[in-house]
């Protein structure tokens, strides 16, 4: 009998807002957090928009040790505070509780500022770069939570956030941990913006995943944090259970350093593994939160992979990419999209795939093209795929339907 891993606390911060309430109402209404970039000058870029977190608390100058925190750490700690408050385990987590975090950039904003100052011939303050390395944010989170366990920072590009949840799930399921923290986060940073701009991956219009006329992605920022516990422990302490993680799959394309394998074979394998791991059938999946970046190659590959895994059911199962609302959070995407999917599942509302107008011939997917559509959602699949051919998929179900 495998141990069961449940989520008892969840925090989220995206361009849609701070916290679960703001994000859920944004998802139900079909709002978009994509707007003109304000944190750096976009002169010279093909595109000028993105999904920045507008919470003034995150941008407020800090003093003392906190001044060394990169924006990445501030996003992560803010999402963690919400998750911990909900789980009400501030003092109750075992000291050895591990932290699994997923990020692509770490503290790149500080790194960029430091390097710019250095290039200008100055002697930049080392404090600028004291939170640069990508494992430091998880170390700050561990310290903030008063934990002494392992920190594992996964940097599998845009799959990282899903991998973090997957590791936490396996850690609890295998009996290695009673509880675990899983997180995914990334910032809006000019470095990445310029990178995706140079790859011509940013949409010059609006991002419209799975649409025939899709022309690229919109970047976002933020993060999500989960408190996960073994079911027995969570029940014993009377915790409110938000959802249960029941399956995880991961694979590698071994195809190209940035482009996905067009056959979708690697992505399909990750989805299939997650579904088998969960002990469910594809027909049991009530909603797919697609990776759906809005780039032509990703969405074609993903549509092919969904077809491979779901067969005749592929044209029926509701699918959406929530990236037109939040932007693509890179290492944060898998975590934020799991959180959004869970909230939508518990609210019984399918998240919309904004900006979807014209079906791509051949995709034949049930893309949710309008907000507020109600449905009974018991089991969801969340996909995340990244550079380097990294694929991850999670199966999460509503708690209560299978509470034994």
């Amino acid at each position: 009998m495998r141990r069961r891993a449940v989520i008892t606390g969840m925090g989220i911060l995206t361009a849609l807002g701070t916290g679960k309430e703001a994000n859920l109402s944004g998802v139900i209404e079909g709002s978009s957090g994509i707007a003109l970039i304000t944190s750096f000058d976009t002169t010279g870029y093909r595109v000028r928009t993105g999904g920045e977190v507008k919470d003034p608390e995150i941008s407020r100058p800090a003093t003392g040790k906190l001044a060394r925190h990169d924006r990445a750490t501030r996003l992560l700690l803010a999402a963690a505070a919400e998750a911990m408050a909900e789980a009400s385990v501030a003092r109750g987590l075992p000291e050895e509780t591990p932290v699994f975090a997923g990020t692509t950039l770490g503290g790149m904003i500080g790194g960029v500022a430091y390097h710019r100052a250095l290039m200008a011939g100055g002697r930049p303050r080392p404090a600028l770069i004291m939170d640069y390395l990508s494992h430091l944010q998880a170390a700050h989170l561990r310290d903030r939570l008063g934990l002494k366990g392992e920190i594992s920072t996964v940097s599998n590009a845009c799959a990282s956030g899903a991998n973090a949840i997957g590791f936490a799930f396996k850690e609890i399921q295998s009996g290695c941990a009673e509880a675990a923290i899983a997180a995914g986060y990334d910032t809006m940073c000019e470095f990445t913006y310029a990178g995706f701009n140079s790859l011509q991956a940013l949409s010059p219009t609006v991002t419209r995943p799975f649409d025939r006329d899709r022309d690229g992605l919109a970047l976002g920022e933020g993060g999500a944090v989960f408190v996960m516990e073994e079911l027995g422990r969570a029940k014993a302490r009377g915790a409110r259970i938000i959802a249960e993680v029941i399956g995880y799959g991961e694979s590698t394309d071994a195809y190209h350093i940035t482009r996905p394998d067009p056959s979708g074979a690697g992505a399909a394998r990750a989805m299939q593994m997650a579904i088998v791991d969960a002990g469910v059938d594809p027909a049991d999946i009530d909603y797919i939160n697609a990776h759906g970046t809005g780039t032509p190659p990703n969405d074609s590959m993903e549509a092919a992979a969904i077809k491979t895994v779901f067969g005749p059911h592929a044209s029926r199962v509701p699918v959406s990419s929530t990236k037109p609302m939040t932007g693509h959070l890179l290492g944060g995407a898998g975590a934020v999209e799991a959180a959004i999917s869970i909230m939508a599942m518990n609210a019984g509302v399918l998240p919309p795939n904004l900006n979807y107008r014209t079906p791509e011939p051949g995709f034949n997917l049930n893309v949710i093209d309008r907000p507020g559509e109600r449905a009974v959602i018991k089991t969801i699949l969340s996909n995340s795929f990244g550079f380097g051919g990294a694929n991850a998929a999670l199966v999460i179900r509503r708690y209560g339907d299978h509470a034994s």
Partner: protein
């Protein structure tokens, strides 16, 4: 009980050259692999740090045109992974794609490409930013390249940390094998030298010769004055014991326990005589924490372990460091010979109160090896390897 995991292959790209023999010879001969790589920035009080353990010309080692434009970090990783796969007696072109996993540890990542990409962006604007540099600057680019090089399609992860990155990578490889059921996992780490990174550690007072004297790494010593940076890559092949034995593989060691924190391992009974400690000490403040941990572990009753430090020879190569320490431990277990300790003062060193400090290599009947590291800001780690 989860299946035993064993180590069957090792591959090293260090300044000694390609392959584990060159690396091991340098350790046995106490031959620091440092050369003058130029001064990036003045360190404390006008002193300059000039030395580094630079890797060999990697293009002469890696004969694979697919990666000719990749960052050095990826080239080091692909070359070291190939050596490890071959050393394990596996066919680099014939791995079982879906039954093989990959875990790569990095600290600064492909920092030269990262810096060059940003230099162009900040200096000349977005139009000058190169997509090729960006693609290969991503932290998991080495993992992507290694997966392509050997057609690895199982779980693949990149893990980050500072001094403990390699132990994190092995820890994650063990978790990945147990979580996904893959029978083989290639795990390793890589690091590149970069002037901006060196300049930053110099500013922080962590680069030798920050406190004067010679430029070198003096582990666990009062005379320590910082670290000398290094680069390279080091990979190992982990396998389920049953699968390794079924194909008649040479087994270097069994992974007995691993922790991504400085937590005492459970099997204390085996500690002491017959143990080799491959320490991570690098001549910085991290040594104090590591020494305190080891002293608490071995300072009581029971025998004294042998001890050796690789960094005075290969430098501090972050993402690759723990892996190189692990390879020294695996070679010692397998050959029955421990390399010189590389600790100042020999028997007069405080370390000799709890370990056998020796200026020369010694024959030793080892039962186990312990790889330790105390990170700058990560959690540190302990890997216990047992003789098969």
């Amino acid at each position: 009980m989860p299946p035993d995991i064993v180590i069957t292959g090792i591959g090293v790209i260090s300044q000694a050259g390609a392959g584990v023999d060159a690396f091991w010879d340098a350790l046995m001969e106490k031959r620091p692999l440092f050369s003058d790589i130029g001064s990036p920035a003045p360190v404390c009080r006008g002193r300059h740090s000039r030395l580094g353990a630079a890797a060999p010309d990697i293009d002469a080692v890696l004969d694979d045109r697919r990666f000719r434009r990749a960052a050095n970090l990826s080239k080091f990783a692909v070359a070291a992974a190939r050596l490890a796969i071959v050393d394990a007696g596996l066919d680099p072109a014939g791995l079982d794609p879906e039954e093989t996993g990959l875990v790569t540890g990095v600290t600064h990542g492909a920092i030269n490409f990262t810096r060059e990409f940003h230099e162009a962006l900040a200096g000349s604007g977005p139009a000058a930013a190169s997509p090729a540099l960006f693609s290969d600057s991503v932290l998991n680019a080495p993992a992507g390249n290694v997966s392509i090089a050997f057609n690895i399609r199982g779980p693949g992860h990149t893990v980050t940390g500072d001094l403990s990155t390699g132990i994190y990578a092995i820890n994650m490889a063990v978790k990945t094998m147990r979580g996904s059921g893959v029978k083989v996992c290639i795990a390793g780490g890589a690091e590149e030298l970069d002037p901006v990174v060196r300049g930053h550690y110099a500013r922080l007072g962590l680069l030798s010769p920050c406190k004067g004297k010679d430029e070198r790494i003096s582990p666990f010593s009062e005379a320590a004055n910082g670290f000398v940076p290094g680069e390279g890559a080091c990979f190992i092949v982990l396998e389920e014991r049953e699968a390794a034995e079924a194909r008649g593989a040479r087994v270097y060691a069994v992974v007995s326990s691993i922790s991504g924190t400085l937590k005492p391992p459970r099997q204390l009974g085996e500690m002491g005589d017959g143990v080799f400690v491959s320490a991570g000490a690098n001549g910085t403040y991290a040594d104090t924490k590591e020494a305190a941990f080891l002293k608490a572990l071995f300072g009581g009753a029971g025998g004294k372990p042998y001890i050796g430090c690789v960094k005075p020879v290969v430098g501090e190569s972050f993402g690759a460091s723990n892996m190189m320490q692990s390879v020294a431990a695996l070679k010692a277990l397998h050959s029955g010979c421990v390399p010189p300790s590389m600790i100042d003062g020999g028997g007069a060193s405080p370390v000799s109160s709890w370990a056998r400090v020796s200026a020369t290599a010694q024959a030793a009947a080892l039962k186990a090896a312990v790889v330790t590291t105390a990170g700058f800001n990560d959690g540190g780690g302990v890997l216990v390897l047992k003789k098969p």
